[in-house]
């Protein structure tokens, strides 16, 4: 039982962090109809930023996490304005642009940061004995709590604020919302920045646990895409549920079926969802 609970706990923790990164993809898909292939690279850059801000510049770890997210947010804004905006209306172009961007950024990271993994300092160290049953890393627990906080903030932002309303309006009907006075260029730009910031948030939260490497970006993107498809394109609840499902299934599958095929479980679910429920768990059937 202790072991089962351990697998479950780890699944939930990883699931919630997966969800943050996936919401970043989902927002951009939902609002802009752009699939951002460079998502994983932004995650990696944020990880490296927080490493260099805290280790090379000596800033406090928490501050450097926030600054790193801020930096990739700005980076996202610039990207949208320069590369993504000219592609509106043609999904193929944006696909190719973000794909090329991911390759360029990955090599840039290799050039700037080198091939070695880098790890920002832990906020806390050690492990606690959970329920007297098993040991669990403190850093992971803290990351879990921070992630929950970020999730609540995003839900509040999208559901309760004027900005959230305009985002939802643009994603429902771009033409109509702009007739109603929503500046959809600005909404797009901000949404892309927010998507990048969420990738960055997942990056800075996970970097102390899984140090970042330039080549680690593709698995980050892939996980996020699986979660988004699982939950349904553009659905926030879908991302959370999809992230949790993925996290739990990966851990239980690895524990009780085979550790060798951990990541294959994700793809089996993905294929099943695509076959039986192509609009995802929470998406809308079109």
């Amino acid at each position: 039982v202790a072991e089962f609970l351990m697998y479950l706990t780890n699944g939930v923790v990883m699931g919630v962090i997966n969800a943050i990164s996936a919401i970043g993809v989902s927002l951009i898909v939902g609002i802009m109809k752009v699939v951002n292939f460079a998502h994983g690279e932004i995650y990696i850059f944020a990880g490296y930023f927080s490493y260099h801000l805290s280790v090379s510049l000596g800033l406090p770890p928490l501050l450097s996490m926030v600054l790193a997210i801020g930096l990739v947010f700005l980076f996202g804004l610039v990207l949208e304005r320069t590369l993504i905006r000219p592609t509106y209306g043609d999904e193929m172009y944006s696909l190719i642009i973000t794909f090329v961007l991911s390759i360029v950024l990955q090599n840039l990271a290799l050039l700037i940061f080198g091939p070695y993994p880098n790890k920002p300092p832990n906020l806390v160290s050690g492990a606690v004995n959970l329920f007297g049953l098993f040991h669990y890393g403190n850093q992971r627990l803290l990351s879990f709590l921070i992630s929950i906080g970020i999730l609540l903030f995003i839900f509040y932002l999208i559901k309760k604020t004027w900005f959230g309303k305009s985002i939802r309006a643009v994603s429902q009907d771009r033409g109509m919302s702009s007739l109603m006075g929503v500046n959809h260029f600005r909404v797009n730009m901000f949404a892309f920045g927010l998507g990048a910031a969420l990738a960055g948030a997942a990056g800075v939260i996970l970097a102390p646990i899984f140090p970042v490497t330039p080549t680690g970006s593709s698995s980050v993107s892939l996980t996020a895409f699986v979660v988004v498809v699982l939950g349904g394109m553009g659905s926030l609840q879908g991302c959370v549920v999809g992230g949790l499902v993925l996290g739990i299934i990966e851990n239980l599958g690895a524990a009780y079926i085979s550790t060798m095929y951990r990541h294959i479980f994700a793809f089996i679910i993905l294929i099943m969802v695509l076959v039986f429920r192509p609009w995802g768990l929470y998406g809308q059937k079109t």
Binding site: M6, L110, P117, A127, F210, P211, P214, G216
Partner: protein, 392 residues
Amino acid sequence: MKRILVLTFIMLFALAPLAWAQSTIKIGVVGPRTGPAAATGKAFEEGIAIALDHLNAKGGVLGKKLEVVFEDTGGVPEKAASGFERLATREKVPIVVGESHSSSALAEIEVANRYKVPLIICEAWHDDITKKGYKYVFRAGPANSGVVDFYIAPFVKENGFKKVAIVRENSDWGAGIAERSEMNLKNMNIPFTTLKVERESKDFYTELTKIKGENPDIILAYIYGTGLHFFIAQANEVGLSPKGLILDGAGPPSLWDSFWKNVGNAGELELFMSSMHENVHLTPTSRKFWDDYKKKYGKDPSDYKTRSIYNVILIAADAINRSKSTDAEAIVAALEKTNLEVTTGTVKFGLKQGTYEYHQWMPPMLVVQWQGKKQIVVYPKEAAMGALKKGR
């Protein structure tokens, strides 16, 4: 007039490579400069630079300047095969050295054999690389069977470990070295369990919880790259180590600059295989390498693969010099008669066909333990600097 000028320029550029080709000899190098073991590419680059400085200062090869063309394999067999093919057909190199991924090496030896280009492997450990008996393939480096039979298995036995856990990545190297370890443990009647993990895994909590249930006193970790750092840090978090000691079956990841940053205090008492130690200099060449490295990079070498690539370049240059040609057959004949001092001993390739020892020379290895952030050689006894510390 303008047209003539342009033409002259074009001619100049077109002919320049030809002129260069005559005054240099190029050796091909294959290895991962990208992918999960991109750090090995960095280590190789450093080793190549030092070897070239050393050899060219002595007048190069066959009186010509020695150059290296380094082809990236990314740790992917398909890329490795096509990279090798490019070296053989486009660059027309007389010999290729390098590689540190068994999966890539197994693809390269086929191409080497097809194009009849001699290849000296330095750090791909799978037995089959030399066991296949290919005439053009040599290895001046560890082989899985040698590492396990002569170092890991006796180390486990002599230190009285009662229960072993083997964790191995799903690569050719991981499969080969784990199988050999299982065979040895069976023969020694030491109980063990084996767990396979994915090569790019980051989260090992599930795996570690399973291992913890078995309560082993040593864990043979056959995982290469950053994954090993995650494994060590997390093993400590779930309370598996240091009660169960971890032995890194490859070595270099335990020495990368980022090791201590990534694993924190969990690195204490970790064990790893190595063929290099600051205080162990078996030959004068080893000393020279160390000094040259320090002079060039301003620090001590850490990844022993820097030295492995240095060795094989020396061996290749020596073979070309002795054969007095760049002809493949002559180079192979010269390689078979190699008797050259490198940093890890005197290289002589085995000639008995049918085993992994064919065209193979194995450098002596060490089992090293981190004790108070110092590298303490704990095995073999002749080289030991201190006693093995067991965790509680």
